[in-house]
Symmetry: C2
Subunit: 239 residues, 2 copies
């Protein structure tokens, strides 16, 4: 095998490794999304089996994070990537941290669904968290899609959705406070719903983080702590 | 200059870069710790000026995170580090993410302190969060000290403290629920205290994360998602 062919083979293998990492992140993202959807459904439908499945499955998310993290470290050590490959690996390391924490929040919602079943349902406020949970799940889906396509415009649109998520969350908190003030017997159940809504709101924040890593990856610029307006301007500038 | 002297110079400069990164992480840690201590004090003493200072200063934490992150990326690209240097950089990238989020939680506590001042103080539960805040601040201090000394035994001891933090947090939640149930007028103020306590509890989790990165850095093994007992066994094994 001459030098050129060898070089070609190595670079093919390297490309395959990078594309394998990206696929694994998307696989992990799919699992986390499923955990969230199940947790929201378990809470809304008072479905104990489904809630327990969510809590029991979190270890899978954790295992995937550790595995991808190790793969990134190995590639960093062996291939010594530069420029956009290096940014890809750093973006992956950060993205899987957020995905793992989204998994933790889904697990928390699952636990809340189990606690909720122990409360008498007549003291449980009639606040349906499903629409809010669905909105957050679709934001996470959008963030993962953005990562799959490396689409900066979409990343900005999805990050922007976080404003609506925050607004809806504030409304839910206000609503739950009125229930608690009207009848103190609703307080324990209201707090479980409040923690669940809080977890969903945090998932919105983390989905926004993932969008910011995609912008960093494509544009080579760190856009965290940047306002959405500036972010739009910057993302539209050519590199 | 002969090859050897040149190599020596480069490696000296490289060592200086790595040690500079470590110092910057500790500097960032010191700032975050100060933010937390001030936020806890502002909440306990109903000190509006101090609370506003905390909220206004969060941008400094964010700026440091971005700067250190960039420095890590540059070193990764230029020096192509292997083995323990690579682990150091990865541990730094993860540590500053947690530090930045601890800064966010301190900012949240500062905001809660401001909201709290708008509540009539007679409906504010007599729950002093200062001892809990101090415990969490000392856990964070311990985690940073662990990072400075790269001391695995200490990392385990500090990580273990998270169990006590979680227990104390549960007690505070229970206490606040009784206030809310006794007098619904205390609900808004109780919720502010509840969110603040929650932020403190999260800071305990993130301090534990930092300890785990130190173990990873020293031992070369990813110990996240490992129980504390296993972690102690593993950390004591020679590499």
């Amino acid at each position: 095998m001459d030098q050129d062919t060898l070089g070609h083979h190595i670079s093919q293998r390297y490309d395959a490794e990078l594309s394998d990492i990206r696929n694994k992140v998307l696989e992990m993202g799919g699992l986390v999304e499923q955990q969230l959807v199940n947790a929201v459904r378990a809470l809304a439908d008072r479905d104990r089996d489904l809630a327990e499945t969510v809590v029991r499955s979190d270890y899978k998310v954790n295992a995937m994070e550790v595995a991808i993290d190790e793969e990134c470290t190995h590639i960093l050590a062996r291939r010594q990537p530069a420029a956009s490959d290096l940014r890809l690996l750093i973006a992956v390391i950060k993205t899987i941290t957020d995905l793992e924490r989204i998994g933790d929040e889904a697990e928390r919602i699952g636990k809340m669904a189990v606690f909720q079943l122990k409360q008498e349902s007549r003291w449980t406020p009639q606040v349906d968290l499903r629409p809010f949970g669905d909105r957050v799940a679709s934001m996470l889906h959008g963030a993962l899609d953005t990562f799959a396509r490396l689409d900066v415009e979409q990343a900005i649109a999805v990050a922007r959705e976080d404003i609506n998520v925050d607004r809806e969350y504030e409304g839910i908190v206000r609503q739950l406070i009125t229930y608690m003030m009207e009848d103190p017997r609703s307080i324990p159940a209201s707090l479980h719903l409040l923690w669940s809504a809080r977890s969903m709101e945090r998932i919105g924040d983390r989905s926004r983080n993932i969008c910011e890593y995609v912008i960093y990856l494509v544009k080579g610029r760190d856009v965290r702590h940047t306002s959405l307006e500036k972010l739009e301007d910057q993302a539209r500038e050519p590199r």
